[in-house]
């Protein structure tokens, strides 16, 4: 049993991770005319990160507590973020 509230926090940090992964400067490392297994590096990088991120989200959500737990954590974190 994980401590309550970890799902909401987890999602928030995955959001930050996503912003980090999908934007320069990290993105620019892979933005080069190179191929891996014959496939452009940028294509592989973006889709791998995207897939991995979704996998993490799925794990966090499906293994997380019930809806009530999520709601509680959501309330706390609701004030923290204001995006774009």
């Amino acid at each position: 049993m994980r401590r309550p509230g970890v799902t909401g926090e987890g999602l928030f940090f995955l959001f930050l991770l996503g912003v980090f992964l999908f934007n320069p400067p990290l993105l620019s490392i892979f933005d080069i005319p190179r191929q891996l297994f014959g496939v452009p590096l940028l294509y592989i990088y973006l889709f791998t990160c995207w897939g991995a991120l979704l996998l993490l989200v799925a794990i966090i959500i499906e293994k997380g507590g019930d809806v009530d737990e999520l709601q509680d954590s959501g309330d706390e974190a609701a004030g923290k973020d204001r995006n774009s």
Partner: protein
Amino acid sequence: MLQGWVILAVSVLYLSILFAIAYYGDKRAKQKRSLIANPYIYTLSIAVYCTSWTFYGSVGRAASSGMGFLPIYLGPTLMFLLGWFVLRKIIRISKANRIASIADFIASRYGKSTLLGGLVSVIAVIGIMPYISLQLKAISTSFNVLLQYPDLIMPSDLTNLPFFQDTALYVALAMAAFSILFGGRHIDASEHHEGLVAAIAFESVVKLVAFLAVGIFVTFQLYDGFADIFAQAAARPEMARLFTLDSAGGYGSWFSLTALSMVAIICLPRQFQVSVVENVDESHLKKAIWLFPLYLFAINIFVLPIAFGGLLQFPAGQVDADTFVLTIPMAQRHELLALFAFIGGLSAATGMMIVATVAISTMVCNNLVMPVLLRVAWLHLADKGDLTGLLLSIRRGSILFVLLLGYLYMRLIGESYALVSIGLVSFAAAAQFAPAILIGIFWKGANRAGALVGLSAGFLVWAYTLLLPSFARSGWLAQGFLNDGPWGLSLLKPYALFGLSGLDHISHALFWSLAVNISLFIGISLFTRQTIVERGQGVLFVDVFKRTRAGSQVWRGTASIRDLRELVARFLGPKRSQAVFAAYARHRGLAPGDDGPGDVEWVRFAERQLAGAIGTASARVMVATVVDEGTPDIDQVMEILDEASQVIEYSRRLEEKSHQLESATEELQAANARLQELDKLKDDFVSTVSHELRTPLTSIRSFSEILHDNPRAEESQKKKFLGIIIAESERLTRLINDILDLAKMEAGKLDWYMADIDTGGVIEQAVAATSTLFSGDEAVELHVDLPKRLPAVRADRDRLTQVIVNLLSNAAKFCDRERGRVTVTTAVEPQHLRVSVTDNGAGIRLEYQSLIFEKFQQASDTLTDKPQGTGLGLPICREIVDYFGGRIWVESRPGKGSTFSFTVPFADSLAAPAQVAE
């Protein structure tokens, strides 16, 4: 086999299936066996995000800018990660307030402002309507391209068909019929359109499968997997440059597209419709958080391979990349797949059209037409009877209006640039709603004036930097407007406003419009005041999770329940109105037929009911017509005051409690410190007592040993030693008695026999008891100076005697060796009798004067002098005098003798009769 009639028949069949699914969905909803009440249908309905612009356009975009198409789908992925904090809050707010559209949401947030709702509706129509045209055009184009099979002729080379041969018109009409049937049947627009959502979900499945089918065909049939396609592409320099983002306008464009699509997924009217209004259960969002991005992931994997496949297949410039999804299967003579791809594109386009039309027509009806109609005085609409028919007609009329307007737009502007770029332009228009929504649900201070000005200004900048230029590029405005700026003012060039260049058009427009929008929104909110209604709505929205009931809302006045019911009946119909009012009365435990005065709760209830039908702003206006918002009567004022004072009282009590707790804590700390001190004293006491007991024991033991070891000692010496042993034993006994006495006293276990006592008798008795001390060899003179008659005191006789005996024996011990003199005097004071015993001994140094009343403390230096007495006499005296309620003290100066005095209260100072105290 791909003749025109086959394509038409399949299209008609597909649309019929849509109607059937929607019909079935509505039927199931009526039976309360909802088809859509699960997270998967919910997710698929959100996938209406992927329109024909995704289906055909992504490939086209990828063919010119590589991965540059992807931010449009990464943005929503990121936003959905924040779904629990943003989207869920919006859903909760909308459900609580029966919000039916994004215009309603913004209007409701900022004090149910009709003006703001109208403004949002206008922006939505201008910004989004062209997007509907784009879908129509996509259908028309794909149909015409497919019709040429097996030839590949591009749409730009096709002559414009007369409108009655244009498939787009018929599709538009079919979609209007569909939207009217399944999206415009409820009076209450905030109700779920279950059949519609079911059909949308089905369309999402079709377009995904169709796109994947084409993708798999191209990647694995036409080529030998991903590596093969990319390897062939890498060999061609014009394609190899698409491998990096240089072709996509750089990182600025990448970042702004991500941000743009992040807000679009919330702020596009159709997204708001499916993810908020049509949401059946808030918990469905939980699964959608990862399932919807997964859908986007799946539909994007093959975009780049299809784009490269098309570029490799067709000679450069011969085939429009936007049609690759259709033309590659056609070129390969794969008829079924081509037909399937066409149906996929059709499903993507129709899904968007249906939802967007319903969303926009709701806004147009509730936030533009109704408020105007209700306010136009000469129509007397506000006074008319049943308005349900009118309301439904307007709703349906606006659906038809929006779709036909879309069609007209497409026919008029046709192939021009305006239509091609409209996807992102629409996104940018919807993004203008973002500050009002996203800041509005987290910041209570945001107000109507700020939202109104911010939104208007942002919209104007958007129109200037994106809409007007697109007209100019279509040839509707002079080209000089673009190149040199209006009137030749280069600073005002719409694509390089104030000299800002180096960004693509969308990023440039987004930057300026949002900068203006947000800064005006926040700035004006900070420097203008909110009305009470705005403040109330702000709290209601921001604190939606904290509030279980809308308890202390703004004062709205009262109205008779009958008036309210009749008002609601005019918009919802009498039957429905009866039903909801009866249900609410039952809910509140009232008689269903009650027509009496309704309180604030009733007014609020009626307003909520109306809000679903005609929008929050109009609902407020309508309710105001029957509500007596005048001065509340005295009872109601008292009630409000009472509520407020209860809250104040409660907080006051809370504060008091916390003060009490604080002081209790302090007391406890003090008690703890005292306990520790006592513990230390006890330890000291035990060690001192042991020491004191050992001294006499040691001498008894050593003299006994001497006697034992020397049996032949002289008789006189034996006697002397035995005398010492006896004296020491007595001292030991005395010591032990004193210790026991003191311990009992301190523990409060001693029996006290309090009575009225003749003091003179007690003093004489004590003097008699100590007479041996004063009659021995050492000449100590004792003077007892007693008046004839002393008042009685209240004390225990034996204990009082003990005190005087102790003082006398002390005085005898410490008085002058040669000419000892001890005096006993008494003095009658107002409350008590004072007894003093004075000696003429060496006196006590000041620093010892307070110490000598402590246990085992003697004024003389115990190291050099043999201890005289037990060291417990004075502590015992103090305990006894304290118990009597008196005081004991010493006055002394070294060399001048000492006076020990104590006081005992008089007997008559106590009201109670003599009794035995415990």
